[in-house]
Symmetry: C5
Subunit: 306 residues, 5 copies
């Protein structure tokens, strides 16, 4: 496949990596309706594990079936599909080679209330390889008392993944006893969490859209001194992109719970304006009938490709 | 052996697995009186470890002898027999090749009261291979503070088992400080526990029959919004089956303590009506004289094969 | 050596094991004055570690010397000798091939009071192999908060030992915060501890002689319902033997602290009458002058061979 | 390259090491404007991880870009550049072979307040090798309740690094519940921390400049008895150098937060006078415009080369 | 070299070990002024790590230099020299093959007050091999809540060391919440600690000289019953030697902090009279000018060789 100029540029940011890793990153950038644009829309479906099956799939019962999500990602023209081991195993054979896959290697459930969450490692790099995936996904919770353990698990997984030519996608979600509830999406905290993921060697970083709140007082001094703009959202996106090695690491954003379509599209426009690389759209797509989901995903992709 | 259409269909759900794993799953589906029907009745005998020898075997003293259970499973025509290391070692040589075996790889005793139970790993995939077993069994307790550790042990065991062509059977029993006593069998919790086992890569999932209670308030909203029926039992079974990848994973149900035969058969009929794949019948079979046990098991099998 | 009918029968219980393991078990059954009878008297000397040197050896100072115990076991005609790494290393070279040895792989000292004891692993299967031992010994404390850790250590050791043709001897001593002091020797608890050792894959199980106390209320219901006799001692021995796979696992009994000879012999008669496989005699033998110890051991062996 | 007499002497201190390690140490001593002098000025940039991106880079926004720091170290003529995995990966390809690199293998963030800090291991010796680094860097916190864990991680890493011909650089920063805030830079504590790093096998030791405070009362007696001078700063530097095997291990000093240039240069003169091997200059260089940073670094190098 | 009768006898105690281990033990027995006598005086210098550099070396500043201690041990004619990794690395190259070395594999610092001390593992068997050492040294603290962890670390290290032909030297220092301050040197506790080291497979055991205090009440009964003499010191030494397998394991004694020379020599005479194998002399030698240290060490050696 011909590489676009932009994809070639993005790949150059990763020139310390072996050709296997660079090929895997390229696979996401060159798949689907946004192929070649340097932008990404990815479908993630790990809510069955993270929130339970009824909360995730009862709003749109066909989504109980793992094959449904492969179909949705393919039909909508997403750049890739991310899910835990069971969901990937249940469709990787039937859809082998059709779409770049991200195997989520850790997961967390809600059957116990925890102040400092710690996901379980639920799959391996070897699982990703035998299932034909192009990347592994891993969640870290900066702010949790167990964050060191997560960073060390990621270190080991990332080293093994890179040695085997897989891309490393990190979900960096600040959470835990080090942070207030508002702090989880504070601009300083989200930017810090993105930086940590980048320093840990992530190729693709996924964070939540930041609010204009600043959580840490030492950070506040720096934001004030440097007059870092807190509004509008596009400026906050720009700051997070800057915090990811000045734009030399792919960073994508998630919305979270179901939102009004217009709100969501507004956010996508801000991500695009701020230099973000794209979106990860889960509940907003698979919790509605497939035709509606495809329509929405296409509108999002149009924003990114415009 | 000729594969029935239904067995062929079930095996197709596992088409990401190697032929070794698919052959092992097929061995259970094609053994005993229910061979070829896509339904399963399995004899599990781990109560000697889980509850102690007298509580388990004194009601029917021949059951102290490990050879007894091999005989019972064979004579009744069960699809397989599951037990801990000692019980399997004590009969695997004499009955080599006669019935598909599940080696239970973790176990828990009652000699210490615990709020958050954590079983010990008591056997390995290599033990299962040297003893000629077709599957490994593993118990997880979603809701326990140690659940992550169990999930990670299962992850490692499942990867090794699959690489060696063994099927993976997961007992998913919600328990621990995250749940009320009623919550352990609540519909939302049982469905969530089944989903977790499926996402962890289980081939066969074993849960308790769910009550109509809903434990978690966030889940309750989803059940109400989607009008998920809580009655009768067959509907709850159907919801659990749906939560196991829309029926694309084998899920079987257990009753628990000894019950009246009619109650038990009523439950079996509900499992069948709700699309469940079968039953696991322990204390209700081995705690009565063998002829009575065989008679009961055959009545159960008749329900499933009708 | 010609195998007696009884030894051949006992070995048949272990027919899932490789010939190496069965040969090692046979070595104990075919050594010493009880060779061929299916009964065993074993000399264990781990008290130097467990209680300290003066408490163990000052009553009979030649016993400070590790060679003394090899000599005692040989001269008395015991079936085997068990000790920790240091004691075995100090004599295995000089007495190579003279008597079947059990290397105790874990030990516990009394220099810190603990509610929930946890022994340290102090030697390995590889140590046992390089020292020419026929078995490894391992202690578990069912009832301790650390029991899972012990079970898992045993699991790993037993798998390695069996793969290398060694027998596995388990000391199963209920102890810890799950039990009252009386509960440590209660019949239900001793039987449960024996069952756990058997389920963990032990070839030879060593427990204390049980009292007629029943510790757990759930167990009490089962004992009452089944009218399991609590008296005399021989009946309790029979129940423990039954709890070890209906007599299909070798179970031997220890007395503990020094006792009157007649009391001890009375116990031995009860073990024999109840179908127990033999005794493990430590402090009652090495804490008296060697001629007296040999005389006592021979009287014990006479009971067993009569 | 011709070895100067001084470099040859320093290398002789490491004559138990293999030629690979000695070559790696030589690479730092023979690079940049101080090549051959036996003195070192190193650029470390781990503050993005340790303090967050805005606090680190907002004062000089080009520093968000990882390539910036490679350029700064090269243009200023530093002996080496040290950073975490992400920053090294982002430039090691483009600048391969241009400057000796130190991959920092552990890092710590500030998203949770901790009394006893414990960094996470965030990269490996194998990462250092694949990225063309000449050394690994590792931080220990003597005084933390987790120090043993850090020492043991360092032990393992140092053994692997030396076997592969890499130099080992240790940041030894006293911190944690064993020390008062003043104690972290107390002369006795800094000297003790330097000694620990040396005994752990570090080739290059990095400590903070010590104050004249003495923290531990037992140490105070020794300082008083031996009349160890506490003033001026050069004497304290001399004591730390002596504590690093009497000058037979390379020890360099850091300033910490941004300071007035004159203060900084005064400290550098004291380091030189006291026999220190050099400086590690982070925030004082990369938090100002590049030309100013280069000017300052050159003035520092002039002190060392004079 | 010709083996003396006594050395030959001592080596016969270790006849379960491979020739590599026996050669390493012989190397200590046949080196220095006490070569061939069966007695040992060893120089240990780990105080830089254990107490800090100023407390250790300020009384005699040349001792900051690691080469100083190699020279001291050589000139005084010690049987061996023991130190942590850094000190050994700093001189092993220059003094290769000149004196038998003991690499201390674990160490503990005083920068945090602890009730139950736990040393860090700071070097490996492979380090000992690459540095040309004849033995590894390891400290255990019987009485500490972490003693099991230390025993298990020692188990692993000892197995690896023996397989590679190295001798195993164990410092057994009772300490921790299981003991009173006086109890740390109580006769029963020191004898118990020596026995534990021997049972763990140590070849050479190093303990402190015991006081006449008896710590544990159960032990007291045994000491009273057997009339074990508590005075004079030589009798207590004899009891410890007896507790080390009746003299079939090498046990040496340390004095501790600096003492009057006459006191020290009195102790040495008691060690000799009680059958001890020698002394380990640290602070009493390296904290005074070298000529004085050599003079003292020679007087000690004269006692042992007389």
């Amino acid at each position: 496949m011909m590489m676009s100029q932009r994809v070639r540029e993005i790949l150059s940011y990763y020139d310390s990596e072996n050709p296997g890793v660079r090929s895997s990153i390229a696979r996401f950038l060159n798949h689907g309706r946004l192929a070649g644009t340097g932008r990404l829309v990815i479908l993630p479906v790990d809510q069955g594990f993270e929130h339970g099956p009824a909360r995730s799939f009862a709003p749109n019962p066909p989504a109980y079936n793992p094959l449904y999500h492969f179909g949705l990602a393919l039909e909508a023209g997403c750049n890739g599909y991310a899910a835990p081991l069971g969901f990937i195993e249940a469709g990787a054979g039937e859809h082998a080679g059709e779409i770049p896959l991200i195997l989520k290697l850790n997961n967390h459930d809600l059957l116990l209330d925890e102040h400092d969450p710690m996901p379980a490692v639920t799959a391996s790099v070897r699982d990703a390889l035998r299932l034909g995936c192009s990347a592994v996904g891993f969640t870290i919770y900066p702010g949790s008392a167990y964050r060191q353990e997560m960073y060390e698990q990621l270190r080991e997984i990332a080293e093994e993944a890179k040695a085997h030519g897989l891309a490393v996608v990190v979900w960096s979600y600040p959470r835990g006893s080090g942070l207030s509830k508002n702090g989880e999406t504070a601009l300083d905290v989200v930017a810090y969490a993105a930086q940590i993921a980048a320093q840990l060697g992530a190729h693709i970083i996924k964070v939540k859209l930041p609010s204009s709140h600043i959580e840490q007082s030492e950070a506040k001094k720096a934001y004030d001194a440097a007059h870092i703009p807190l509004e509008p959202l596009a400026e906050r996106v720009r700051h997070v992109v800057q915090s990811c090695f000045d734009g030399r690491r792919i960073v994508i954003f998630s919305g979270g719970a179901r939102e009004e379509d217009e709100t969501l599209l507004e956010e996508v426009r801000a991500i695009r304006a701020g230099g973000g690389f794209g979106s990860i759209i889960g509940r907003n797509s698979f919790q509605r009938p497939k035709p509606e989901a495809i329509a929405l995903l296409r509108r999002i992709m149009e924003v990114y490709s415009s």
